[in-house]
């Protein structure tokens, strides 16, 4: 009798322990941001994702974040500190955190890492990014239809594939609906510098541009567009409050579904290393509500494009498409493969100027 009783007690104690640990120890999820959470752009949207995780899981998770972390040694220290202090899953949300993430992940094989926009995976490191070019196709269409001067301004950050892809996608679809459209591209070599972005917007307006797109994170250009009475698109976040009249639509980085899914996997114990590149369909890229300024038929056209991309019926890079120098890139009906898109370093035919090098 005695052995059985002690086994039972043990089991009961073990069960009790298991139950209490499950209740007392929520999954600890950390986020590292390159900018301040109040940038109304890139880091802001990642933090919205974090808040959505908190709301969705309630007491089952505990989230922490460190903002404005410089890339390099500081990032490595912050990541190590998070791993040491018992985080189970850590999201590192800037390209420059790639090597630090890999380094720290190698030292903490039991901690899971998720690196945004990079290309280095490991057993405990996933990568994820969004197909923003799908959104660019939609707002490119709107820009092509709405411009009266036929000049569209584009504030570009750095000449990397991600940005070049966006320019090409926007241009292709603006040109499709408006053969006379011209793109004026300004490279500002920063992701977030309100004064430089504002200067770029002003310079573009002086060149006769009446619609501005941007691939930088601050709402500065939107503010200028509102002041000067031209049109613009929100980038990363909706930015409606900065340009109530100027804003036509926006591309919103929506990390909520992905973050919730990954934290769920962590809690369920099913987390494994993956590379994710999601677009409009799973909701990672969201098109902000269309402004009333856009006539109903154009709204319908843009919506139809977004729907067909989401449904997989249409790929924004479908031939016939030529490179800037006139050579054939994609034959009629041919679709660009992800490898080419990931390393895109050329403009398509019709865009003026060179990709800076």
């Amino acid at each position: 009798m005695k052995p059985l009783k002690s086994i039972l007690t043990c089991a009961a104690v073990a069960l009790g322990l298991a139950a209490t640990t499950a209740a007392a120890e929520p999954a600890k999820v950390g986020f590292v941001y390159v900018g301040p959470v109040g940038d109304f752009g890139w880091s802001y949207e990642h933090d919205q994702g974090r808040l959505a995780v908190e709301e969705h899981f309630g007491d089952a998770v505990e989230t922490t974040f460190v903002e404005s972390v410089p890339e390099g040694a500081d990032a490595e220290r912050v990541l190590t500190q998070m791993a040491l202090s018992g985080h189970d899953l850590i999201f590192t949300t800037s390209f420059g955190y790639m090597d630090p993430t890999i380094n720290v992940a190698a030292k903490f094989p039991n901690v899971h890492f998720e690196h945004a926009t990079g290309y280095k995976n490991a057993d405990n490191v996933s990568t994820y990014s969004a197909r923003f070019y799908e959104g660019r196709a939609v707002i490119g269409t709107i820009a092509g239809r709405m411009t009266e001067s036929n000049k569209v301004g584009y504030i570009a950050s750095f000449p990397i594939p991600e940005v070049i892809r966006g320019i090409n996608s926007a241009y292709i679809h603006a040109k499709k609906v408006n053969p006379d459209v011209e793109f004026k591209i300004v490279w500002v070599y920063t992701w977030f510098d309100p004064s430089k972005e504002a200067d770029a917007a002003t310079a573009l307006i002086e060149q006769g541009v009446d619609v501005i797109m941007q691939h930088t994170d601050s709402p500065a250009a939107m503010t200028i567009a509102e002041e000067r009475g031209i049109m613009a698109f929100g980038q990363a976040s909706d930015m409606l409050q900065f340009g109530p009249t100027a804003r036509l639509s926006s591309i919103i980085d929506n990390w909520e579904p992905y973050y919730i899914a990954r934290v769920q996997a962590q809690i369920d114990g099913t987390w494994e290393s993956v590379s994710t590149w999601d677009g409009i369909a799973p909701g990672m890229v969201k098109i902000g509500a269309f402004s009333d300024r856009i006539p109903a038929d154009i709204q319908a056209e843009a919506q139809a494009l977004a729907d067909s991309i989401a449904a997989g019926d249409y790929h924004p890079f479908t031939g016939p498409l030529n490179k800037q120098d006139g050579s054939v890139w994609l034959a009629d009906g041919e679709v660009a493969d992800d490898g080419t898109l990931a390393g895109m370093n050329f403009y398509v035919e019709g865009i003026e100027g060179d990709v800076p090098n």
Partner: protein, 360 residues
Amino acid sequence: MFRLEKRPQPSQFWTLLTPIIAVVATMIAGGLLFALLGKAPIEAIRTIFWDPLFSEFAWYYRPQILIKAAPLILIGIGLSLGFRAGVWNIGAEGQFILGAIFGAGAGLAFYPADYWFIFPLMVIAGAFGGMLWALIPALLKTRFGTNEILVSLMLVYVAEHILSSVSFGLLKNPEGHGFPGSRNLQQYEAASNAEIIAGTGIHWGVIAALLAVIAAYVLLNRHIIGYQIRLTGQAPRAARFAGVRPNLLIIFCMGLSGALAGVAGMFEVAGPMGQISVDFNQGLGFTAIIVAFLGRLHPVGILFAGMLLALTSVGGDIAQSNLGLPAASIKAFQGMLLFFILASDVLSNFRVRIGTAETA
């Protein structure tokens, strides 16, 4: 009600005591700030000052403080020599960048060869790059009387553009999938500034910083150039009569501070940072100005000031993650520290009297 009376000599007693007063005042004012943000003030201050040194994970943080402090001390020492002589090099950030570019460039030129001389060559190249950048404002000043504050500061922005250009061009990693940035030097053994003893945080930059402290101390106290520097700062006219050639001294101070900033940049790029990238510089060259003044332009003072700033940065990041303090509040906290140190300088230079002046 209160009246300040200038002391004939700065008070030794107060000079030693004011840093402590300033740290205590910062803790009080910072504690108030954290309390207003709804965080437990004592816990926040303990996290910033105590946790990096004595908490459970201090074995990891202590070396990190050395890593963070080394470039600040190295640059700060160089700047302090010029500042003492009234030569205002504000552009250490640019010299830091150029040193990193030259250093990394020298190393990557040999990739993937493995020679013993690669790393020493990188150190020399780094020093040369930084010196070159600092000599531009120095020569313009001695030749044409331009203002070295403006020119050295402007050259920071030029350096940032060069950094951007080489990240996308000359030094871009050919295996980097089209992304900007050089190869990671941490993964190139011959050029890597790795820890000399694993787990201690001590890399060649830390050694160089300590050597710089000693060398600067000896220079200032035992060498004729140190004497000239001090004399020029205190009495420029007297210095001229004593045979100091001001132009030569400007070139010496600028060149040396540039070389030290350049070496610091080289050690950073080859070690903690790993690669040349668009965001390589994080303002260390500007923070080092604060370090130099916080350390009262004294080599040993700069050593402590660098460590203190590194401590609050490392502790600040812990406080962000553990207590949810915003990054801006940590910066404000560090700003308070500088403010109180400089403000309490009044006590060493002036006597505080209560009552009205006897003579108007």
